[in-house]
C-alpha cells in the first residue's frame, strides 16, 4: 500500500494515543478543574467523533494493519483494523461522544485532585478499549484488555469511602482477572505450540479433535465473564451503580461490547470452523441470561442497579442473536447465519446507545436530586422535562417498542429464529423457537420494568420531600443525552443504512451476507430475506401514527371544542390521596415476585399485628452466590486452612520437613 495516504489503522492508533495524552493533560492540570471540564472532556468527545468516522471508513475499506515499535522483543505490538473492528470502533466513538459531552457537565463540581485522576482514568479507559478493538496479537490484546479492566476498576472505586463501592470494585476486578486467565488459556490452546502469538498465527494454527471445542469453551467463559453472562454476572450489578454515572454508561454501553467483540473475534475469526453445538451452548446461555436479567431487574429499586441488570438481559439477547448465527453457520446455512450475526451486532449497537442514554438519565436524576432509590422519587417530569423526555425515549427503545431502535434488532432476531425450519436436527429446530419465546417473554417483561421505572420515577406525585427544587441538567449534559436520543431515533427509523454496513461486516467475517433482494428493496423497507417473508418500515409506521394523531386532534377540536377544566384527581370518596398510596417500585414488581417466586431468594420481614411501629422489609438475593460462589470461597478457605497447618512454628518440625524432603529426594534418586 502507498504509505503516503493515511490508513484507517494509523488514524485509529493516533486518536487513541491522543486520548491518553488528554488524560495525562488532565492529570497535569488537576489544579484547573474548569480547564478539564471545559476543554479536556469536550476534546475527548471530538476524538470520539473522529474515531467513529474512522470506524465507519474502515467498515468499507480493506483491512489495514501496522506494527508498533513496542511490546515484547519477539512479539512487537501488532494492530489491525478490519470491518469488524471498524464497526465496534464506530460504536465506541459514537456512544462515547455523547457520554463525554455529558461528563463535561456532570463532573463540573468534583474535587480538583479527584477530577485530575478521573480524567486520566477515564481517557485511558477509552483508549484501552480502542486498543482492544484493534489489537492483532495475543499479548497486546491481553495488555489492553487488562488495562481496560484496571482503569475502569479505579473509576468504579472513585468514591472509595463507601464500603460497598470497595466491595464492588474488588469483585469486579477479581472476576475480570479470572476471565482474563480464561482468555489467556484460550490463546494458549489456539497457539498449539508453534509460531508466535500474532492473530495471524493463531488463525493459521490447525487444531484437531476436541481442542477447538476447548478453545471455544475457554473463550466463551473468559469473555462471558466480562460481558456479564449468567452465572458470571455477579460483578455487574455491583460495579455499575458504584461508578460515577458517565462511567457506568461507558462500562455498560461500551465495555461489555468489547467482550462481545472479543467473543466474535476469537470464535468466528481465530478458531473458525464453527460447530452448531457451540451455537446451541451460546443460545441457551443467552436465553437464560436474558430472562434472569430482566426478572432481577424487576426486583430492583435502585435505579442504576436496575439498569445494570438490564445490561445483563440485553447481553443475553445479543448472545441469542450470535448463538443463532453460530447454529446456522455450524449446520451449513451461512445466509441465515449472517442474519443472526447482523441481528446480534445491531442489538449490540442499539443497546450501547439506549443503555448509555438511560445511564446518563439516571446520572442526571442522581445529580439533581441525589436520589438513586426509585421508591423516593416520583413526579420528576415536572422538574426535569428534558431529562424526562430523553429518558422516555431510552425506555421505549429498550422495551423494544416500535418504531425505536431496540425493536429493530429484536425483530431481526425473531426473523433469524424463524429460519429454524432450515435446520436438520429436529431437537434444535424446536429449541430455537422456544428460545424465541423466551426472548418475547423477556421483551415484554422489559416493557413492564420500564413502565415501572418511568411511572415511579417521573410520573405520579413525588414521595420524598427534597431540600430544594431539583435543577434540570446542564447544557452539556442535555447535549450528551440528546445525541444518544437522536441516535435511538436514527437507528430505529432508518435501520437499512446500518444494516448495509453490518452486511459488509458479515461479508468480511463469514464470507456471507443477506440475499441481494434484501439489500435491493430500498432505504424505506427493511427486508431481512425477501419481501414476501417479512418486511418492516418504521418510518411509515411513525408517519401513520403521527398523521392519525394530528388528524384526530384537529377533527376533535374542529367538530367539537377544546374546553378544559383542572381539578383534583378523583379520590373515590376517600379524601386524603397521599403519595404513600401510589405503588412503590417494589409494589409494582410484586406480581412478578409472586409468579416467579422460585427464582428469587426472598428474605421477608412482616410486622406483627400488635407492632407499635410496624416495618415491612424484604431483600431479594441472587441465588448464584449460594450455589456457585460461596462454595468456591469455602473450598479455598478450607485448603488454605490445611496448608496453614504446615506451619505451626516449631523449629524441630521445620527441620523435620527439610530432613524428610532430603530423604525423599534421595530415595527418589535411587
Amino acid at each position: 500500500m502507498d504509505s503516503s495516504i493515511l490508513e484507517p489503522i494509523e488514524a485509529a492508533v493516533t486518536l487513541s494515543v491522543i486520548w491518553i495524552g488528554l488524560g495525562v493533560i488532565g492529570l497535569a492540570f488537576m489544579r484547573a478543574p474548569r480547564l478539564i471540564t471545559r476543554a479536556v472532556f469536550p476534546a475527548g468527545a471530538l476524538v470520539s467523533l473522529a474515531l467513529a468516522a474512522t470506524g465507519l471508513w474502515a467498515i468499507g475499506a480493506p483491512p489495514s494493519a501496522a506494527i508498533l515499535p513496542a511490546g515484547l522483543p519477539d512479539l512487537p505490538f501488532h494492530v489491525r483494523l478490519d470491518a469488524l473492528s471498524g464497526f465496534f470502533l464506530l460504536l465506541l466513538g459514537g456512544v462515547s461522544f455523547g457520554i463525554s459531552l455529558f461528563a463535561a457537565g456532570y463532573f463540573r463540581d468534583t474535587g480538583a485532585t479527584a477530577l485530575g485522576l478521573l480524567s486520566l482514568q477515564y481517557h485511558v479507559f477509552l483508549a484501552s478499549m480502542a486498543f482492544v478493538l484493534i489489537a492483532d496479537d495475543a499479548y497486546l490484546f491481553m495488555v489492553t484488555w487488562e488495562s481496560m479492566a484496571l482503569s475502569s476498576y479505579f473509576l468504579v472505586t472513585t468514591e472509595h469511602h463507601e464500603e460497598q463501592n470497595r466491595k464492588a470494585g474488588f469483585i469486579y476486578l477479581l472476576v475480570a482477572h479470572i476471565g482474563a486467565i480464561g482468555i489467556l488459556l484460550c490463546f494458549g490452546v489456539l497457539h498449539g505450540g508453534h509460531g508466535d502469538y500474532t492473530f495471524d498465527a493463531l488463525r493459521r494454527a490447525e487444531l484437531s479433535g476436541f481442542w477447538p471445542t476447548i478453545a471455544f469453551l475457554l473463550a466463551f467463559f473468559g469473555f462471558g465473564a466480562k460481558a456479564g453472562m449468567l452465572p458470571l454476572h455477579v460483578w455487574l450489578p455491583e460495579a455499575h451503580p458504584a461508578a460515577p454515572s458517565p462511567v457506568s454508561a461507558l462500562m455498560s454501553g461500551v465495555m461489555l461490547k468489547t467482550a462481545i467483540y472479543g467473543m466474535i473475534r476469537v470464535i468466528y475469526d481465530l478458531i473458525g470452523g464453527i460447530r452448531w453445538e457451540w451455537g446451541l451452548t451460546v443460545l441457551l446461555f443467552g436465553a437464560a441470561t436474558s430472562l434472569f436479567g430482566v426478572l432481577f431487574a424487576l426486583m430492583q429499586h435502585d435505579l442504576k442497579r436496575l439498569l445494570a441488570y438490564h445490561s445483563v438481559e440485553n447481553i443475553g439477547i445479543i448472545l441469542i442473536g450470535i448463538g443463532l448465527s453460530m447454529v446456522f453457520i455450524g449446520s451449513g446455512h451461512p445466509v441465515a447465519g449472517a442474519l443472526g450475526l447482523i441481528a446480534g451486532l445491531y442489538h449490540t449497537l442499539n443497546h450501547a446507545v439506549f443503555k448509555g442514554l438511560l445511564f446518563l438519565g439516571a446520572g442526571a436524576i442522581l445529580k439533581s436530586t441525589g436520589l438513586r432509590n426509585l421508591n423516593e422519587m416520583g413526579g420528576l417530569i415536572r422538574y426535569l422535562p428534558h431529562t424526562a423526555l430523553y429518558f422516555l425515549i431510552g425506555a421505549l427503545a429498550i422495551s423494544a417498542l416500535p418504531p425505536l431502535n431496540g425493536f429493530v434488532s429484536e425483530w431481526l432476531t425473531f426473523q433469524a429464529s424463524l429460519q429454524a425450519p432450515l435446520l436438520e436436527s429436529s431437537v434444535v429446530r424446536s429449541l430455537v423457537p422456544i428460545v424465541a419465546a423466551v426472548l418475547a417473554l423477556s421483551g415484554a417483561l422489559t416493557g413492564m420494568c420500564f413502565v415501572k421505572v418511568y411511572g415511579v420515577a417521573f410520573l405520579g406525585q413525588h414521595r420524598h420531600e427534597l431540600a430544594e427544587k431539583p435543577r434540570e441538567a446542564s447544557r452539556w449534559e442535555r447535549a450528551g443525552m440528546l445525541w444518544l436520543a437522536l441516535a435511538c431515533f436514527a437507528l430505529g427509523l432508518l435501520p437499512v443504512f446500518m444494516i448495509g454496513q453490518l452486511n459488509n461486516v458479515s461479508q468480511a467475517l463469514i464470507k456471507a451476507g443477506l440475499p441481494d433482494e434484501a439489500m435491493a428493496s430500498g432505504w424505506l423497507w427493511l427486508v431481512p430475506t425477501s419481501s414476501a417473508q417479512a418486511s418492516y418500515s418504521p418510518l411509515v409506521f411513525l408517519l401513520v401514527i403521527a398523521a392519525v394523531f394530528g388528524l384526530t386532534f384537529l377533527v376533535v377540536r374542529h367538530v367539537y371544542h377544546g374546553r378544559l377544566r383542572r381539578s383534583d384527581p378523583w379520590d373515590c370518596g376517600f379524601p386524603a390521596q397521599t403519595s404513600r398510596m401510589e405503588d412503590t417500585a417494589d409494589g409494582f414488581g410484586q406480581p412478578i415476585r409472586q409468579i416467579f417466586a422460585p427464582v428469587f431468594l426472598i428474605h421477608r420481614e412482616i410486622p406483627r399485628a400488635d407492632d407499635p411501629r410496624p416495618v415491612f422489609r424484604q431483600e431479594i438475593e441472587d441465588r448464584h452466590w449460594n450455589w456457585l460462589y460461596s462454595p468456591i470461597a469455602r473450598l479455598a478457605e478450607f485448603l488454605s486452612g490445611h496448608f496453614g497447618k504446615l506451619q505451626q512454628g516449631r523449629i524441630s518440625v521445620y527441620l523435620l520437613y527439610s530432613f524428610l524432603t532430603l530423604i525423599a529426594l534421595l530415595i527418589f534418586l535411587q
Partner: protein, 316 residues
C-alpha cells in the same frame, strides 16, 4: 393493481373498520343482554356514548402531565394503524408491508405502555394498580400471542400477515393440528388483551377487580372517548386478525371491486358470529381472581408453544 386503487382500498378499509368498531362493541353487548334475558341498550349505544363524551368539557387533574393528554391520541393512532395493516377486506394493501405480525404485536405493546404510563401519571392508587395489573397481563399475553403468530408464520414461511392470509386462504383444505392449538391460545389471549371476562370485566368499576377501567379512571370527555374508541378498535383488530389467520376464506385482492362486495358480506357474517360467540363465552364464564390470570395465560402460552412444536414434529 394500480397504486391509486390500492390507496383507495387502504383508506376504505381503515375508515370502514374505524367506523364499525363501536358497532362491534354494541353488538357484543347486545348479544350479552339477550343471553342474559335483558332487553339491552341497542347496538347503536356506543356511538351515542362517544358523541356525549365528545361534547363534555374535559376535566384534568392538576398534576396531569402532557404525556397524560397525549396518550389518547397516540392510542387511537396505534389502533388505527393496526386496523390499517390487518387485511380485513383485502390483501396486499400498500400499508401492509410496513409491519408484519411481530411489528403488530409491538404496536399493541406500544399502546399498552402508553396507557399504563398515563394511568400512573396522576399518581392515584387506582391508576398505579391498574397499570401494574395491565402490564402483568400484557407480559403474559404478548409471548403467547407471538407464539400463535409464529405457528402460522412457520406454516406459511413468512411473518407478513398478507402472505400468511394468502397462503392459508388459497390452499387446499388440509388439517393443521397446530393451528387448532394456536386458535385456542389466540382466543384466550384475545379475551385477556381486550379486558374481557374472565380476566377483566368491562362492565364493572369494582376497585378490587378492575384493570383497564382503573387505568383510565382519570380520563374524561374527549380523552375518554378516544380511549374507549381505541379499545373497541383493539377488540375489532384482534377479531379481524383471528379471522384472517383462522378463517381467511373470502377475502378480496386489493383492486377487484367484485371481490370486495363478497368480502364485505363475508366479513359482516364473520364479525357477527364472532361477536355472538364472544358474548356467549362471556356469559357462560365467570371472572377469575387476578392471580389466576397467570395460570390462564400461561396455559395459552403453553398451548401456543405446543402448537409450534407439533408443527415441527408432524407437519414438516
Amino acid at each position: 393493481m394500480s397504486i391509486t386503487s390500492g390507496i383507495v382500498f387502504q383508506v376504505l378499509q381503515s375508515v370502514l373498520v374505524v367506523l364499525i368498531a363501536p358497532l362491534m362493541l354494541g353488538w357484543v353487548n347486545q348479544c350479552r343482554a339477550w343471553l342474559q334475558n335483558r332487553s339491552g341498550a341497542g347496538i347503536w349505544q356506543p356511538y351515542q356514548v362517544l358523541n356525549k363524551l365528545f361534547h363534555k368539557d374535559a376535566v384534568l387533574a392538576h398534576n396531569a402531565s402532557s404525556l397524560f393528554r397525549a396518550t389518547p391520541y397516540i392510542l387511537f393512532g396505534c389502533m388505527w394503524l393496526a386496523v390499517g395493516i390487518v387485511p380485513v377486506l383485502a390483501t396486499s394493501l400498500p400499508f401492509a408491508p410496513a409491519a408484519d405480525v411481530i411489528a403488530l404485536v409491538g404496536l399493541f405493546a406500544l399502546a399498552r405502555v402508553f396507557v399504563s404510563l398515563a394511568g400512573m401519571d396522576i399518581g392515584t392508587s387506582f391508576g398505579t394498580l391498574g397499570a401494574r395489573r395491565e402490564m402483568m397481563i400484557g407480559f403474559l399475553a404478548e409471548p403467547a400471542m407471538l407464539m400463535t403468530l409464529f405457528t402460522a408464520s412457520l406454516i406459511s414461511h413468512s411473518t407478513s400477515l398478507v402472505t400468511i392470509v394468502e397462503t392459508l386462504a388459497h390452499r387446499e383444505l388440509v388439517i393443521y393440528p397446530s393451528m387448532a392449538f394456536a386458535a385456542v391460545a389466540f382466543l384466550m389471549v384475545l379475551l385477556a388483551e381486550n379486558a374481557r371476562i374472565p380476566i377483566d370485566n368491562p362492565a364493572t368499576h369494582l376497585e378490587l377487580t378492575m384493570i383497564h377501567e382503573a387505568m383510565i379512571l382519570e380520563y374524561s370527555a374527549r380523552h375518554l372517548a378516544l380511549v374507549e374508541w381505541a379499545a373497541s378498535l383493539k377488540l375489532t383488530a384482534y377479531i379481524t386478525i383471528g379471522i384472517a389467520m383462522f378463517l381467511p376464506w373470502g377475502i378480496a385482492q386489493a383492486g377487484d371491486w367484485a371481490g370486495l362486495l363478497i368480502a364485505l358480506a363475508v366479513l359482516a357474517v364473520k364479525l357477527a358470529l364472532a361477536g355472538a360467540g364472544l358474548a356467549l363465552l362471556e356469559t357462560i364464564s365467570a371472572k377469575m381472581r387476578i392471580f389466576r390470570a397467570p395460570e390462564f395465560l400461561g396455559t395459552a402460552f403453553m398451548l401456543a408453544t405446543l402448537g409450534m412444536l407439533i408443527h415441527f414434529l408432524l407437519e414438516i
